[in-house]
Symmetry: C2
Subunit: 318 residues, 2 copies
């Protein structure tokens, strides 16, 4: 397999066309906008196969074929009404086996926001791509610094070979989705304990919030379930500077097979071989940029990479 460039790695997850690309119009032309009940906000994009199902639910949705949108019906004017309607719907879709993606049912709620920063409804995690709504995660990179940055080392886990998605692939030290009703930092603490056995005091004292990355993903079969669902995603990023003496991360919940402490050369090689779960490759590239390892002098696509991994998501946000 030819080696992947950093830009190719970013493009694997930032795979939905940009509004200004001419192919955007063509590719998006079959998609419908998923509108809020007041018809003011676009919450995501829907595939025609989903629209066909919602079309029959006239009490819950309004479908406008001329302008290609589906709105939540106006009477769903509270968080509770919307959440119950959506929850009942996706349980029916699961029980009727309408979508393969729902075989990965998580029994975990995600939050959808509108207006920005305001909870609009909650939705079963595995059903989010069906409605194309924005998803959120937290990712932490634990590293051992070095005066020569090429000798900096990062703790990299290998995902369990029994995981349903991306089995055996490399990952960020810690990463997880932000479920309802948790906050960003709460989720970080929780995931750090569950996935790596990091003490909450260590994370509170030593972890550093360092920004976020975002991309607009067109799902492939590697993500599980049907191909083609849209998944705009934002990940809050944290660094954790440790020493060789800090108690190392350890597999706790069976999701991780083993943690490696690898230097930059090894990580660059594994990235180029495509051995990282794609969205964690993007977080790793962001880390390498922020730490002066990927620079304008050594990365010909520096600007495009940075812009694409902070993509403007044109929906209301958390």
């Amino acid at each position: 397999m030819p080696k992947l460039t950093n830009l190719e790695l970013v493009a694997l997850v930032d795979s939905f066309p940009y509004p200004t690309e001419s192919r955007c119009k063509a590719e998006a032309s079959s998609l419908y906008q998923f509108m809020s009940h007041d018809m003011k906000a676009v919450l995501g994009y829907l595939l025609p196969s989903v629209v066909d199902i919602l079309r029959d639910l006239k009490q819950s949705f309004v479908v406008n074929d001329a302008d290609q949108w589906v709105g939540i019906a106006p009477e769903y004017d509270t968080v509770e009404k919307r959440s119950k309607m959506m929850n009942d719907l996706v349980i029916n879709l699961r029980d009727d086996k309408k979508f393969k993606i729902l075989e990965g049912w998580r029994s975990e709620l995600y939050s959808i926001f509108y207006p920005s920063s305001t909870l609009y409804f909650t939705l079963e995690r595995s059903a989010c791509p069906i409605f194309g709504v924005v998803q959120y995660g937290v990712h932490l990179t634990a590293f051992v610094p070095a005066s020569d940055t090429q000798k900096l080392k990062i703790w990299i886990p290998r995902r369990s070979r029994t995981k349903s998605t991306y089995p055996g692939m490399l990952d960020n030290t810690v990463g997880g989705g932000i479920g309802y009703p948790y906050g960003v930092f709460d989720t970080l603490i929780k995931e750090c304990g569950e996935e790596a056995g990091f003490d909450s005091e260590l994370i509170k004292e030593k972890s550093k919030s360092v920004g976020s990355v975002s991309y607009y993903y067109t799902r492939t079969s590697a993500a599980g379930g049907e191909s083609g669902f849209l998944q705009p995603e934002i990940m809050y990023c944290y660094d954790l500077e440790v020493t060789e003496d800090t108690p190392p991360p350890k597999p706790v919940d069976g999701e991780v097979e083993e943690f490696y402490l690898w230097d930059i050369d090894r990580i660059a090689e594994e990235l180029a071989q495509g051995n990282f779960k794609p969205n964690t490759a993007l977080v790793t590239i962001d880390f390498l940029i922020r730490h002066g390892i990927i620079t304008p002098e050594n990365e010909p696509n520096y600007l495009e990479i940075i812009s694409r991994m902070h993509r403007n998501i044109e929906h209301p946000l958390r």
Copy 2:
């Protein structure tokens, strides 16, 4: 004056509508695309007042009013031909006093790229906004770290009161445009010496490349010259960690009145008062995000700020 939020500070420079905003269509409707000689790439956006002038230069430009674009004529098929034609043109525009912005003539060439990473032509710096082409800069933030991040201090210069643009305003420790034929790091070294008296060895050893910020600026009179020119801009960012013992930055070339070593509380206050030159406020906010000072827990517009300060610029890039 009411205090400015961080999002308002970013919006001051990221002021051109996004392609997906409905007001974009309306506001952009009077603009013409500035096309490459092969009619394949959009290099920037032109105001109607500029189009009216180019319309009369039939040997150099092709104007298409139906589709609202102006292209460089096909026969300008080398860097040298394009650079000479554009240079002759802007000298005429200056001598004929067609644009106030050219009163700020810099006798410094900027590079325009197409395809990305490939020099397409060079252009007098002060004329770039007339053609709406992408501009590039390097900005460095020198800081004294602290275990309590609120006690971290940054070296902040006050611009000379005699500067033609933004006199007396606060700035990044070092910042400057990337002129032809300099590279990114060359420019950093040069500006660090010229503006702050930093030794080149210090910069080579201790400065760290940490990413880039980008925005799409609609110029106002505060920037000098006519209002309304479009100025997409990308700034490469560098951090320089120093100690209280490192020889401090000092005014060298008369562009800086004085350097202050200020803590976070003071800097946040000066930002909110609107005392920073707008694009250097954006670089400072990026620094505060990367260093865990502005976080998802204390900044309600965290995601929008990060996305907007890494705006996708829809033109060929350096």
